[in-house]
């Protein structure tokens, strides 16, 4: 409670400071995004279906230009009306070279593209996280460490973008859900002193296409001499056609080492796979006034934990209506699907108003 009060007080102070700065020469601005949602969720008989409003996200982003080559940025996430408040990231960026930015602090891990670029609700074309980026890659995923990143031109539109980093790593009990291995409070290494290493390499061969590959390796068990590996591998790809069509997807795999209970002196890996494919089509090429601001989107995603009850899929078709360039009304139906033995009635209707500011 005390921590929440301090964070709220800090936020108000920073807003006031930003207002004063913006009245003069802007070295400090506040930007960000928010969304409110109405979700209707099916329940298994005899439980009634549940519908609820939710101020899902209020995420102010603070940007401070210290000097031309040095910048500070931070984002605070208020979820579910303030029930969950975390510092999503707070980092210092130094533009060392045309092709190299050095970042230090707590930053979003550049694994795939959803975590760093697509998760804000006004940017993501489909509400909610794909299953590849929920219990496989634990979006929102940020860690304390250092990173070098940037873009290297090849020719015309072609280029490479990259990121390599060294961080404190995920940490928790053996076999824990990967989402629960994130250090959402204290970001320091206290018990497990092992560091994580990772990176992403993206290639843009032509304007319309980007392909990337990501990797991350660490030891995660919360003991003084950690032994259990946690390795991530991922590939991502996207295709854009002009300004009205996109097709994108990611495949992520987490290999989480656990003690083999059938042979206690040996270990094995829990292999967790996740994937999604998403298409979005704006109807502006039809040149019908009513449809100029309408976009149809559909996402298919799945997670495969090796035949367990956690194997599931979702298909989310829906419509985005762009009230303005950064304010979107969404209406989606989410089919939540499980293996036959674990099938439950849990589909959802999602209405969302999301805005970037």
């Amino acid at each position: 409670m005390k921590r929440m009060s301090l964070i709220l007080l800090l936020t108000v102070f920073l807003f006031l400071l930003a207002s004063l700065s913006q009245a003069e020469k802007a070295k400090f601005i506040v930007t960000g995004y928010m969304d409110w949602t109405y979700i209707w969720s099916q329940q298994e008989d005899p439980d009634p279906s549940i519908g609820t409003f939710d101020l899902f996200h209020f995420n102010p982003i603070f940007l401070f230009q210290i000097e031309d080559k040095l910048m500070a940025e931070a984002e605070i996430e208020y979820e579910h009306g303030g029930d969950e408040i975390i510092l999503e990231y707070a980092q210092l960026d130094y533009f060392l070279h045309d092709y190299v930015t050095v970042t230090g602090g707590k930053f979003l891990i550049p694994f795939g593209v959803f975590n760093t670029k697509l998760h804000p609700s006004w940017i993501s074309k489909v509400p909610g996280r794909p299953l590849a980026d929920d219990h496989v890659v634990p979006v929102d995923w940020s860690e304390a460490g250092v990173m070098a990143s940037g873009g290297i031109p090849i020719s015309g539109y072609s280029k490479i973008n990259y990121a390599v980093y060294l961080t404190n790593g995920l940490e928790g009990p053996e076999g824990e859900d990967i989402r629960d291995l994130r250090k959402e409070g204290d970001d320091r290494d206290v018990v497990n002193n092992n560091k994580a290493v990772g990176g992403r390499l993206g290639i843009i061969p032509v304007k319309e296409i980007e392909i990337g590959a990501s990797a991350y390796t660490a030891k995660y068990d919360d003991v003084e001499s950690p032994k259990l590996s946690l390795n991530f591998f991922g590939v991502d790809a996207e295709f854009h056609h002009k300004d009205f069509f996109e097709l994108r997807g990611e495949f992520n795999q987490a290999d989480q080492e656990v003690t083999d209970l059938s042979a206690p002196d040996s270990v094995g890996f829990k292999v967790k796979r996740g994937y999604y494919a998403q298409a979005a089509l704006k109807l502006s090429p039809l040149e019908v006034d009513l449809l100029n601001s309408v976009e149809i989107a559909v996402r298919f995603s799945g997670q495969d934990f090796g035949g367990e009850a956690d194997d599931k899929w979702e298909v989310s078709p829906g419509i985005n209506y762009y009230v303005t360039n950064t304010a979107i009304i969404r209406l989606f139906y989410r089919f939540n699907l499980e293996k036959e033995a674990y099938k439950v009635d849990n589909n959802q209707i999602i209405f969302q108003f999301a805005m970037g500011f």
Binding site: Q22, A26, K27, F28, I29, T31, Q42, I61, L63, F64, Q65, M71, E73, D93, F95, H97, D98, Y99, T101, T103, T116, K117, L118, W122, I123, S149, G150, G151, I152, P153, G156, Y157, K159, N161, Y162, A163, K207, E238, H240, H241, K242, D243, F244, F245, E246, L247, A277, A279, L281, P285, V298, F300, V315, Y322, N325, T326, F335, L337, D345, G356
Partner: protein, 97 residues
Amino acid sequence: MTKIRITPKMISLTLTLTLVACLVIIFAHPTEVLTKGKELTGAEVYAANCGKCHSERYPSERTDEEWKLLVNHMRVRAGLTAKEAKAVLEYLQENND
């Protein structure tokens, strides 16, 4: 409420139809061909990089100084080169009247 059964066959059919529709649209609206060696304009860099993730931010939304902070923030987020960031910033600052 009527229960709709989603089967792998239905998903495959939907994805195939979606892909076919996409290909029809792409061939009906061919993209431009970049002349080799042509320098990209700020608007082209902006569309190629920023437009991949989010809708266009109108230049008139922010002042020159505010765009400087935002473009630097985006340079880190999107892995822009210094030249790309400069081109985008100049485009936004020149058009924000």
